[in-house]
Amino acid sequence: MAQLPRRQFLKLSGAAGATLGLAACGGAPPPNPGAAGGGGAGEVVVGTWGGDYQKFQQDFVEPVLAGTDGAPTVVYDVADQVARMTKMRTQGQTGGPGTIDVTALSDQQAQEMAAASLLGKVDPARLSNYANIREDFRNDLWVPHIYSAGVIIYNTEHVTTPPDSYEVFWDPAYAGRIGIMSIQWATEYFMAAALEAGGDPGNNWDAGWQRMLARKGTVRVYESQEQLGQALMSGEVWLAYNWKARAYQWRKAGAPLASAIPREGTFPVVFTVGVPANAPNPDGAYAYIDAMLDPEAQEQFAQNMGYWPTVTNVDPPPELTAEIGFTPEEEQKIHQVDLAYLAQNNERWRQQYVEQLINQ
């Protein structure tokens, strides 16, 4: 093996050390070819959930993107939304360029990020599919991808009378058979407040808090959608308030479940994508988001994941519409919520929920 002269070795070591030092001190990142613009070429980093969502992005969005001129290479930054938001906040607060070009979040979380000035404004002119987005979902800070709404999910073998009101969650007959999630408190607050108001609770979700406390000890708590789904499928719990899309997924897995929209009404959840204010490749981000709005990709998400399209140029088959969609009468019962109000109260509600309702 050839010997490296001592002087040359020291030079190389010094250069390597300096490079490492620069990297540790947050030195300038390597240039991203896409950052210069021009059709979004280069690399686009998509911050997303793992599992099915990412798989369907790869299966249904990437082929659409690949068909466009100068399509960027897609890299996924997989994490749950909490970790992704922490990363965005941390990168935003330290200044300098970020590492995420497209960030996938629920509408409530996107609102929080927008309120912290971490999302860039959406430029409709850069999205060829923007005109197809449902008008009521349009927003200048994020792009709606898929949506669903909360429904009462019940086990048809144990809950033989289809429930039509949130009152079922306070029925002593089902104590110990109701599942809730430690990470999803907004649904529970809404439910109690809607019951208190006899309909749309407006911006008074605290009104149901005493009602919620009455559920202490009657609910089983799960840490994730997967755990709750497992509990519903195994018969550990018979009732939960969750997205209609989830009911569809669990029913497809063979569980004897049905869903109902309560007479008090419900609220939608929109899963969105946004471009962080410090995104290194916004052109690539817009190209990717445009592909997410493509009707074919949207229909595939509906069929495979159970979330309803956010664009109007998709026509899912009638049987799928019955499973995951909403009739015009049901749409009337879906109350729009004030996301700024939710973002403002989110921290307090989480603490109250964890500390006083679900904690032993």
Partner: protein, 287 residues
């Protein structure tokens, strides 16, 4: 060979620099947040305040989480010590392949991550898990019961995580005990249990102190096991710190809890080490 003072310092310097730059500095940087106010748009608002600590001690939930964390850590450490002592003693009494095999078996669980082991507990103790299924099938239970999400289960699960470390620490200490001291006691008519209690145990006090201190600190800082086995219903401090920072973006309050964990861990370990050494010194001299 002895090194002169200058060479000694030079050898220590790289490790010292790395420790200060990559461990002490970030820690100090992070802990300074504990004296600042939360902010919605930045890590913190740079003012000096003790509000975070006041809030912690005024909150039954957070004080409860600290108390629970300490009790679980104490119980898991005691349980690990009890279980590890006979195993470590057995290993020291074996030789050759048997000894190597026992050490490999002890180390083996460390090759599997905490998360995977915790998932194992969930599969074992969950509603449709092995224990519930078997007990229901043999008629011992009418139906599945809640075995997860209790402080007892979390204690047992954490013990299983730290047990190999305790065994290895005690075994290293037991190896240094001169077997002639045991033989002499046996020759003089002492029963094996008395030999272990009066001859072996006092000699491995430093090992016990090291093992229990190490394990106690690991238990106090446990994250994955309480999160997965206990869920939100057995709140322990490390998961609460994580949730406060990540879900609420409240770095100052999270940092204040981290500072408290650090202080409590250090205080307990230092006090315990001194107390244990003093007790056993007195005991050894008295005998």
């Amino acid at each position: 060979m002895t090194l002169d003072r200058r060479t000694g310092w030079l050898l220590v310097m790289p490790a010292a620099v790395i420790t200060v730059v990559f461990f002490v500095a970030p820690l100090v940087y992070f802990l300074r947040f504990s004296f600042e106010r939360p902010s919605r748009t930045a890590f913190s608002e740079p003012v000096f305040t003790l509000e975070n600590f006041a809030r912690f001690f005024a909150s039954p939930f957070h004080v409860g989480a600290l108390t629970r964390t300490l009790l679980v850590a104490l119980a898991a450490t005691a349980l690990a010590l009890l279980l590890a002592l006979p195993v470590a003693y057995l290993i020291t009494k074996t030789n050759g392949r048997v000894k190597a095999m026992l050490i490999i078996l002890t180390v083996f669980p460390l090759l599997v991550g905490n998360v995977v082991r915790s998932i194992g507990w969930v599969a074992l103790l969950g509603y449709s898990g092995v224990v519930n299924t078997v007990l229901t099938a043999v008629g011992f239970l009418d139906g599945p019961v809640e075995l997860l999400r209790t402080a007892t289960t979390v204690t047992v699960a954490i013990t299983s995580v730290v047990l190999p470390l305790m065994v290895l620490t005690l075994q290293a200490s037991l190896e240094s005990v001169d077997p002639n001291t045991e033989r002499a006691a046996l020759d003089l008519g002492a029963r094996p249990l008395r030999v272990f209690r009066q001859i072996v145990l006092p000699q491995i006090v430093p090992g016990i102190a090291a093992g229990t201190s190490l394990v106690f600190v690991l238990c106090i800082n446990a994250y994955a096991t309480p999160r997965l086995v206990g869920g939100t219903q057995v709140p322990m401090l490390a998961p609460v710190v994580y949730d406060t920072i990540s879900s609420d973006n409240n770095w100052p309050f999270g940092a204040s809890m981290a500072a408290l964990m650090l202080v409590v861990s250090l205080a307990v370990v230092l006090l315990y080490g001194r107390l244990l050494r003093r007790q056993f010194e007195g005991w050894r001299v008295a005998r």
